[in-house]
């Protein structure tokens, strides 16, 4: 099910993949794989366990530089590693610690901050959440209202963060707060580490459309953070946040997740009885699968174009900006197809269904978020039109 788009790979990369594949199959506990298949919001324990297993092999922080404890892989190698993890139903690694905080600290944190925080991210001992979005500042981050006030020996942070994924079990938050009201909206923001157990931090769970709990509101009421909680320089947090977004240009495509889900859906459709034979025997259904296959291959090829450029030391071209739009739409198309394949069994809550159909409905419902978060698709299209195409 992997290697659909193999022709872009060198022989060395294929050998690398074979090695990774065998290693993951050996390392991954079957119960973790099963819960990953069926669940949508994994528990901290499950995520931490896989994190530890990978860290023992030096692969947890797989896209950090070797100097920060990463394996020193190329972008293509990271892609192959992620593809193999997804294909084996390995739990996803925490987006925030591994993908967001680690690279931010490596790029802008002090040596002391790196020494303090990076090992625990790698080992899965500490979990992070992201404190960027606010109730009145989702896609429009520049309008955020949380403030950090300078006091003797540190800062006092006050405000409310919204849509804080994994906030309810995170140990630390990477928090964007306003430190300068005089400056232009983007210019007066700074980046802090906030201890989620500090006095003044309150967490309110937000139940989402799928009935699950992965998102929270976090209230920061005069939360005191020490001097060394500031990452980089004061008032430059916006630049750090943007650097990171530019750094991770293909992550939002979720290409591995889509490929894995699509292959599982094929198997499901081949096994479920349809009006005449299996669901997948119906030519109208086959046509829909084939069209998704073409789109998915298109997304995989686009992501690989970006990664080949990065691996060969070039700046990615404009195609990097489109993978969010295309990838998110494809995720939704796959889960919509799943609803048709599963039929009535998809309409009852999980206690009734179970087995191979478990988790699809919740994923489908939660999947509506992917065209909204990480810069809504409308915002992405405006960026493409203005910045890439030069429409004005």
């Amino acid at each position: 099910m992997n290697g659909r788009v193999d022709a872009f790979l060198t022989d060395d990369e294929r050998a690398f993949r074979a090695e990774i594949r065998a290693a993951i199959r050996a390392m991954l506990p079957p119960d973790l794989a099963r819960r990953t298949r069926e669940g949508i919001h994994l528990s901290r324990e499950d995520m931490a366990r896989w994190n530890r297993i990978l860290d023992a092999r030096g692969w947890a922080a797989h896209h950090w530089p070797a100097s920060a404890g990463g394996p020193g892989w190329t972008p293509i190698q990271r892609f192959l590693f992620e593809a193999e993890c997804a294909a084996a139903d390995a739990p996803p690694l925490s987006v925030f610690g591994i993908y967001l905080v680690g690279p931010t600290l490596v790029a802008f944190g002090s040596q002391a901050q790196q020494d303090r925080y990076l090992p625990a991210i790698r080992s899965g001992a500490e979990f992070w959440c992201q404190g960027y979005s606010e109730p009145e500042a989702g896609s429009d981050l520049a309008s955020l209202r949380t403030t950090a006030r300078r006091v003797e020996g540190g800062w006092v942070v006050t405000g409310q963060k919204a849509w804080t994924t994994e906030g309810h079990f995170a140990d630390l938050m990477i928090c964007l707060a306003r430190t300068n009201r005089e400056a232009k909206p983007q210019a007066g923001l700074s980046l802090f580490v906030v201890d989620m157990r500090a006095p003044g931090v309150t967490i309110a769970p937000v139940v989402t459309i799928d009935g699950g709990h992965s998102v929270n509101s976090v209230f920061l009421d005069e939360v005191r953070v020490p001097d060394d909680a500031l990452i980089g320089e004061v008032d430059r947090g916006w630049g750090y946040a943007k650097f990171l977004l530019a750094h991770e240009r293909t992550n939002n495509a979720q290409v591995h997740r889509s490929r894995r889900e699509f292959e599982r859906l094929k198997a499901l459709a081949a096994a479920r009885p349809g009006p005449d034979g299996a669901v997948l025997d119906d030519p109208a259904v086959r046509r829909r699968f084939a069209v998704v296959e073409a789109h998915l291959a298109g997304l995989e090829a686009t992501v690989l174009r970006v990664l080949v450029d990065q691996t060969e030391g070039r700046e990615p071209g404009p195609e990097a900006s489109i993978v969010k739009v295309i990838g998110s739409r494809l995720q939704q198309a796959i889960s919509e197809l799943a609803m048709d394949v599963i039929g009535e069994d998809a309409l009852t809550m999980p206690d009734a269904a179970g087995g191979e159909v478990a988790g699809w409905t919740e994923r489908h419902l939660f999947r509506r978020v992917v065209t909204i978060y990480a810069g809504s698709n409308e915002i992405q299209k405006t960026i493409i039109a203005r910045a890439t195409l030069g429409l004005r």
Binding site: E136, I209, G211
Partner: protein, 372 residues
């Protein structure tokens, strides 16, 4: 003949009264009501005459037409009422016109709110339901499909042996205790345990062609009600969304002032109005030729499952994060539509049906074209 809703004084009184009642007594909240609360509301509805309204006059009813019954269903959809009104205000009252004695005897109870129906069909994947001679009279065989509110009903209206006059039977069965399933939109359904059930001969309302005709009417009536409910849910969701978009600001302007958001909502509105048109066609065709009634119901369900569901997803998209939360109504509109799209065989089954009904096999000229 009536071909437009909301034109007579009593239409408007009915709709406005229903809206007021529903918004006051059962406004939407994310919390699910208890069965006791639902029963209490049900009794008040009976007091308002909702279940008597559509009964034929000879059974003490008001003889209201399908447009009025659907107005109630639509209004209930607006508040995402968890217990469906479709069977008791539309389907069963209309069926009483056929004069099945086993059914009309229940008319007073229905009017009083003491009798509540659920519509039960066979599960095609399990080979459907069939009727054979049994110990007490007849015996049911096979599996029923998921039936909305089957656990809360006092009676099950059971369609067996659909598709062919040999073996077709319509039955009225006193409900048994049945384990309920919670649907993703908060409603409840159940799969009635019918396999091997022995029933008195009087439970059989009709067989053969009579049964088939009644079963077809039930199916198309239920489809019209499903679409009315979904339309109500969507229309209320659109109202809510427009209000939100005109308040919430981003990048220094209201969300509603962005052209992309405006076009997203215009698309949703186009789909909504098409759905309403098909609902009204379905309603108008309930008194007409079965072939047109069937085509209307199937077309409406296809558009419900495709454009209706897409419109609900646009409401979420335009609203943004807030619509992803369980606390906000728009996500529930989406789930209501998802259930409507998937129930009773789902959209794809309706597409297949419409293909069979409107496309001639192997190049034979279209039946209706040659008849026309």
């Amino acid at each position: 003949m009536r071909r437009s809703p909301d034109q007579r004084d009593d239409d408007l009184m009915l709709r406005e009264g229903a809206r007021r009642f529903l918004e006051e007594r059962c406004p939407w909240t994310p919390t699910l009501p208890s069965p006791g609360e639902e029963d209490a509301v049900r009794r008040e509805m009976a007091g308002l005459g909702w279940f008597a309204m559509g009964l034929p006059e000879e059974f003490g009813g008001g003889g209201a037409d399908a447009l009025q019954a659907l107005a109630l269903v639509e209004e209930a959809g607006r508040v995402l009422l968890r217990r469906s009104l479709a069977a008791d205000v539309l389907v069963v009252p209309r069926l009483m016109r056929r004069g099945f004695a086993g059914l009309t005897a229940l008319a007073p109870g229905l009017a009083a709110g003491a009798v509540r129906f659920a519509l039960v069909s066979g599960d095609p994947a399990a080979g459907g339901l069939s009727v054979a001679p049994g110990r007490e009279g007849v015996r049911l065989r096979g599996g029923g499909g998921l039936a909305l509110d089957a656990g809360a009903a006092t009676h099950w209206l059971v369609a067996a042996g659909e598709g062919s006059p040999n073996g077709a039977a319509l039955l009225c069965v006193e409900a048994r205790p049945v384990p309920e399933r919670r649907l993703i939109d908060g409603r409840r359904g159940a799969v009635p345990p019918l396999d091997g059930l022995d029933l008195p001969a009087g439970a059989v309302l009709a067989t053969g062609h009579d049964a088939l005709a009644a079963i077809d009417e039930i199916r198309d009536c239920a489809a019209a009600a499903l679409v009315a409910d979904a339309y109500g849910a969507l229309a209320a969701g659109l109202d809510l969304t427009v209000g939100y978009l005109n308040q919430r600001r981003q990048f220094g302007q209201t969300l509603g002032s962005f052209q992309a958001v405006q076009h997203l909502m215009a698309e949703a509105f186009c789909d909504l109005e098409t759905l309403r048109s098909l609902m009204l066609w379905s309603a108008a065709s309930l008194d007409g030729a079965p072939a047109e009634r069937r085509r209307a119901a199937a077309s409406a369900r296809v558009v419900l499952g495709r454009e209706g569901l897409a419109a609900a997803s646009r409401l979420i998209q335009a609203s943004g994060g807030i619509a992803m939360t369980e606390e906000y109504r728009v996500g529930h509109v989406y789930k209501r539509l998802q259930v409507a799209a998937g129930i009773d065989g789902g959209t794809e089954a309706r597409i297949r049906q419409l293909a069979t009904d409107t496309l001639s096999p192997k190049g034979r000229p279209d039946d209706e074209a040659s008849a026309a």
